[in-house]
């Protein structure tokens, strides 16, 4: 009986287990091996030790991509967090037409990034775009946005905020899960809305915050679509992201050894960041008495 159960369980789970072995576990190990080789796909890999890693840390573009990606992450994660929580708080207020706002704010998240990238490129066009057109009405001389080395990363972070609807939904669900009695009790004690937000709402949505921090950080480290389509990394490589440079090594130069080394460096960076987020979350994430 027990044996039959084991067999059945394994059988039902086998699609994922096979997929995991072939498409995840083997690739992780293989890319670690490739990262120590010179490998151009057509010829078998040739062992070179740490040469790829050494080469990368002397490569100006690699360092540029790494620093750019750090800036993307530092911009995307906190701005998205504040915006998503703020919008979620507004969207749970008892307005009759709140479903309309929810739909309109969520809609851009299902529009493909490759389509939105072309729209945003024209929307933020320095001379003919609507943004600078509207700014000029206010007497503001708008920046060059994506065409300016100093502005391009911020502009991409800004454009990414049109996709904040997904995180907003998660925070909305978390806020709706908070028992109303807590607010009633706090009201009786004379707490104001500001205090209730910091003492009740924020601690009680912290599991959603933890989920957001992890997924948003990993997503930001891998930013690719928007800069690839809108700027191709320019101007002067100011928007070149880490994965864009990795992609170039792998699929433009067919240099799988260097690309694999880059993949593993990214893997280690995300692993360290996830561990840091988890470790510090013990201090700020609050799990209710339900567990």
């Amino acid at each position: 009986m027990k044996r039959k159960q084991n067999l059945l369980g394994l059988l039902f789970a086998s699609p994922w287990i096979i997929g995991f072995l072939v498409f995840t576990l083997y690739p992780i190990i293989a890319s670690l091996f490739f990262s120590f080789t010179e490998y151009h796909v057509t010829l078998p890999p040739k062992w070179v030790g740490f040469a790829n890693y050494a080469k990368l840390f002397k490569d100006q573009l690699f360092l540029k991509g790494l620093i750019n990606t750090a800036w993307y992450t530092i911009g995307l994660v906190p701005i998205g967090l504040v915006l998503a929580i703020t919008l979620a708080l507004l969207l749970v207020q008892p307005l009759r037409e709140r479903y309309f706002y929810r739909s309109m704010i969520y809609l851009p998240t299902i529009v493909p990034v490759y389509a939105f990238a072309t729209i945003a490129l024209w929307f933020f066009s320095p001379y003919y775009g609507l943004v600078n057109g509207l700014l000029s009405f206010l007497g503001i001389n708008g920046p060059m946005w994506l065409n300016d080395e100093k502005w391009v990363k911020f502009t991409i972070v800004l454009i990414s905020q049109w996709g904040v609807g997904g995180a907003t939904l998660i925070f909305m669900a978390a806020i709706n899960d908070i028992p109303k009695e807590l607010y009633e009790a706090a009201m009786l004690d004379g707490a104001n809305k500001w205090k209730m937000f910091w003492k009740i709402t924020l601690p009680l949505i912290s599991p959603a915050t933890l989920y957001y921090m992890i997924t948003a950080t990993i997503g930001a480290l891998q930013i690719f679509d928007l800069p690839q389509i809108m700027t191709g990394g320019g101007p002067a490589n100011a928007s070149l992201s880490y994965v864009m440079y990795l992609y170039r090594h792998a699929f433009s130069y067919m240099n799988m050894g260097i690309a694999s080394a880059m993949a593993w460096i990214l893997f280690l960076i995300s692993l360290v960041l996830v561990i840091i987020i988890f470790k510090t979350s013990a201090r700020w994430a609050f799990y209710g008495t339900s567990r």
């Binding site: 994922w16 992780i28 890319s31 809609l107 490759y114 929307f123 003919y128 057109g133 669900a173 994965v243």
Partner: protein
């Protein structure tokens, strides 16, 4: 209702209207540009409502932009991925929730861990596997992995399965039904709402995937919209009215899908699915 309450709600309303306008603005600008004559494109101050609207931009875009072929390719890839996901994910979720077996928790936690794995780490060896199989420049590398389950969706279905009482299954087991029959006849019908939601997520995810097609497809006749639209940008980038007509046509399928499913998309995510 007290007076300051109305004031409070109206200020919330005011902010939300402003935010909604900002979120819609790029799309209105796209629509407006797609109907502009060439000379209006570079007008200053910008023309918001083109008079008369130039609908021929759409015909021009269709002349230079094989929309129907890209659309059909996107559809084949997305439907294939949904089929794969629907076959594999509930099966694995069933094993992780309703069968007690050795190693279940071990595999489950590994699976959760892989959700956090950056795609870049597995991308290159996966490419080499598909190259060795001779699948480059076909839809197979984009579709076949879905038949091996998607961790996040397996997790979400599992959360749903766990809410179904074991007694229901035990009754069927006593009647002598095989485990697969119970899965097929009892579990799957009950799971319709979550399966619908997963199909929707999978479809949108596949339709919107850019990096996958970029890696695997080189032949233009195989391009989905994800590659066709940026290519249009590279070739006819100065014809912004054609470009925005093409963009409008490219996002219409997503908008239509959204209109019909927004209720599920927006109400579908319950935090209980995330907390674990």
């Amino acid at each position: 209702m007290r007076k300051h309450n109305i004031l409070y709600l109206n200020s919330v309303r005011f902010i939300l209207i402003a935010v909604t306008i900002v979120y819609m603005l790029p799309f209105l600008w796209m629509l407006s540009t797609s109907l502009k004559a060439d000379q209006d494109l570079y007008a200053f101050p910008p023309v918001l409502i083109p008079i008369p609207p130039v609908f021929s931009n759409y015909i021009q875009a269709l002349n230079y932009f094989p929309f129907m072929r890209y659309f059909a390719n996107s559809l084949i890839i997305s439907v294939g991925t949904v089929v794969g996901t629907l076959i594999s994910c509930p099966l694995v979720a069933y094993s992780f929730s309703k069968i007690k077996w050795w190693g279940r928790d071990f595999f489950f936690y590994i699976m959760i861990g892989t959700i956090m794995l950056p795609f870049a780490v597995t991308m290159i060896p996966q490419f080499i596997i598909f190259q060795k199989l001779g699948w480059l420049n076909t839809f197979l590398p984009l579709i076949v992995p879905s038949f091996f389950g998607m961790p996040l969706y397996i997790f979400l279905i599992r959360q749903f399965f766990q809410t179904i009482p074991d007694e229901l299954l035990d009754a069927a087991r006593v009647d002598g039904a095989s485990e697969f029959k119970i899965y097929l006849k009892v579990m799957l019908p009950l799971a319709k709402p979550v399966l619908f939601l997963i199909s929707l997520f999978t479809f949108i995810g596949s339709w919107n995937n850019y990096l996958g097609p970029l890696i695997y497809l080189t032949d233009e006749s195989k391009y989905p919209l994800a590659l066709g639209l940026p290519q249009f940008l590279n070739r006819y980038g100065t014809h912004w009215n054609w470009m925005m007509a093409a963009a409008t046509m490219a996002i219409i399928p997503s908008i239509i899908l959204f209109i019909f499913t927004q209720k599920y998309l927006i109400e579908g995510i319950k935090l209980s699915g995330i907390k674990g």
